[in-house]
């Protein structure tokens, strides 16, 4: 008998079981789809409102209305993936520790972090994902069909976009694990979602808006290098939207850095996860 379980087969069971569960509460499923979509639509309304007062975010950055909507669509895609696969699990992670149910996860002959991170899948988030694809399609259509400097969409763009999108998801996942694990030491998990919301608010806008003042520059440095939240959406969105304000160097240097940052984040989150398990093991009876 082989020692390692087949992770793909287990993951497929997670997907399947979650779908069965979500569909057995059908009305709830639809309500959740609609309510998370309405959140997105309200956001969209807010940005439409902003663009009725301005033509671009920041002077000479190139983040006009449709470029920004590419950015927004990227945000949506990243967030919906995170919500679909990780949000319910990692919220539960600290709950498991609190109630002592983590014991069962530790018994299984399978990697504990894998089990804890992927067990539940939140299918209603696909609604947001599809909406993100739609918004991306519309915005790209506008950008490729505009009279001045139309964007030329290439296969390379799409492939690199997908790669960096997944890197973004991985960085957010790592951050989430670190937050959840540290909430164990702080002794509470209720505000995990709040923390998450506050910290990820830095990923929501083009990083050019922080090009002002010492505070802006230091925020930019902190959230690029210490907690790489700023590059999560910015790097893939720039690949697609190609705002003219971004320098040549940044166009290739930042993506390379992002690959490094993704690797380091994943490694760090794994380390923190192990530490939290260790403290769980020595601190509980």
């Amino acid at each position: 008998m082989e020692d390692r379980p087949s992770y793909a087969a287990v993951f497929y069971m997670f997907l399947r079981n979650s779908l069965v569960r979500d569909l057995s509460f059908r009305s709830n499923f639809w309500i959740e789809c609609v309510s998370s979509l309405s959140w997105v639509i309200m956001n969209l309304g807010f940005y439409l409102l902003i663009f009725s007062y301005t033509t671009s975010i920041g002077p000479n950055t190139g983040w006009g209305k449709w470029e920004f909507f590419v950015f927004l669509a990227t945000t949506l895609l990243v967030n919906s993936l995170v919500q679909m696969f990780f949000m319910p699990n990692i919220q539960e992670f600290s709950e498991l520790i609190r109630t002592g149910k983590l014991d069962f996860a530790l018994l299984k002959p399978i990697d504990t972090q894998f089990l804890v991170s992927f067990e539940k899948v939140n299918w209603p988030s696909t609604a947001n994902f599809l909406f993100g694809l739609l918004l991306m399609g519309i915005s790209l259509f506008q950008l490729t069909h505009r009279p001045e400097r139309p964007i030329e969409l290439t296969a390379t763009m799409v492939v690199t976009f997908v790669i960096f999108l997944l890197c973004g998801v991985a960085i957010l996942y790592s951050l989430m694990i670190v937050l959840a694990a540290s909430s164990i030491w702080l002794g509470r998990n209720t505000s995990l979602y709040d923390f998450w919301f506050y910290i990820t608010s830095f990923s929501r806008y083009p990083m050019e808006i922080y090009n002002a003042g010492t505070l802006g520059m230091s925020l930019q440095l902190i959230f690029t290098f210490a907690i790489p939240i700023l590059i999560v959406v910015n790097v893939p969105a720039r690949i697609m939207a190609q705002p003219f304000g971004v320098s040549e160097t940044q166009m290739w240097a930042l993506p390379i850095y992002m690959l490094v940052a993704t690797g380091m984040s994943l490694w760090f989150s794994r380390w923190v996860f192990k530490m939290s398990l260790r403290s769980y093991r020595s601190a509980s009876s």
Partner: protein
């Protein structure tokens, strides 16, 4: 008199429990209060970028009557409004108690559910203000340059009145929504929609005046909802965007909404209990 003393001691006990609870989760709480300003910070940078994109030297450019400084001040003030009017966990807590049957406790004991929750919430808020006063003071001191100085006394009086009213409005509105749990067991999604509307339509996300120039019925609709009193109204009063008779009538309408939701929460509790004792168990 003895009754009053007994009440005061109950109140003190509730206050202490809340205070201790907050302190036990110290790290969480301190971080949480500071983090609360992060989204505001991003919002301020966003507006700074928008204003500078307008090409004029910042300070003079205006969007619907707001300079860049006004906008920053508005966001800071709206966090104060929300510190008063937001009621985290209230509606969901009530709905949960109904669902788990804990509500029976209040039907047996000589205790009025709504008063009990109100008392709890006041204690909760007071504790919050005591502990969060320091971070708030630091942020406002650092940002004092964005304010044009203190408004005149009567404006301040109106401002504090509207803040207290926004607390009451927030409380009774959420309590009423929580009572819906008597009729529907799954209120989570409903609460999410409520949260969504408060987030955007209370003025937490942007000054509601921006809707004025949009055309269409939007501004009228949003300004007829009670939600704008949760964040926009107090902040606009402080910034003297609302003055004179408009201010007076605004306060009157806010009082009206508070009274409306006091009655609504009482009625829904009354009929909810009836429904509960008839069918539930």
């Amino acid at each position: 008199m003895a009754d009053l003393a007994a009440r005061a001691s109950t109140w003190w006990a509730i206050f202490q429990i809340n205070f201790h609870e907050k302190l036990v989760y110290r790290g969480d709480f301190m971080l949480g209060t500071l983090m609360r300003f992060l989204p505001i910070l991003t919002q301020i940078f966003l507006w700074s970028a928008i204003f500078s994109a307008k090409g004029e030297s910042s300070g003079n450019a205006e969007i619907v009557g707001y300079t860049y400084y006004n906008i920053v001040a508005y966001y800071l003030l709206s966090t104060i409004s929300r510190a008063f009017s937001s009621m985290p966990g209230l509606a969901s807590g009530i709905a949960l108690q109904i669902r788990e049957g804990e509500i029976k406790k209040y039907l047996i004991q000589p205790l009025d559910l709504i008063s009990f929750f109100l008392l709890n919430r006041i204690a909760h808020k007071l504790t919050y203000y005591i502990v969060a006063a320091v971070p708030f003071a630091i942020v406002f001191f650092l940002c004092r340059g964005y304010f044009a100085g203190w408004p005149p006394g009567h404006v301040l009086a109106a401002y504090f009145t509207s803040l207290v009213l926004s607390f009451m409005l927030g409380f009774f509105m959420e309590a009423t929504i929580g009572m819906i749990g008597f009729w529907f067991l799954e209120v989570r999604s409903l609460l999410f929609v409520y949260m969504l509307f408060t987030f955007f339509l209370s003025g937490h996300m942007f000054p509601l005046d921006m809707l004025n120039e949009l055309g269409g019925p939007w501004a009228l609709i949003v300004k007829s909802l009670p939600l704008m009193y949760l964040a926009y109204f107090p902040a606009a009063v402080f910034l003297e965007k609302i003055t004179g008779p408009e201010l007076f009538w605004g306060l009157v309408v806010q009082v009206g909404w508070v009274v409306f939701f006091i009655i609504a929460s009482r009625l829904s509790f009354h009929y909810g209990v009836k429904q509960y004792s008839a069918y539930g168990g």
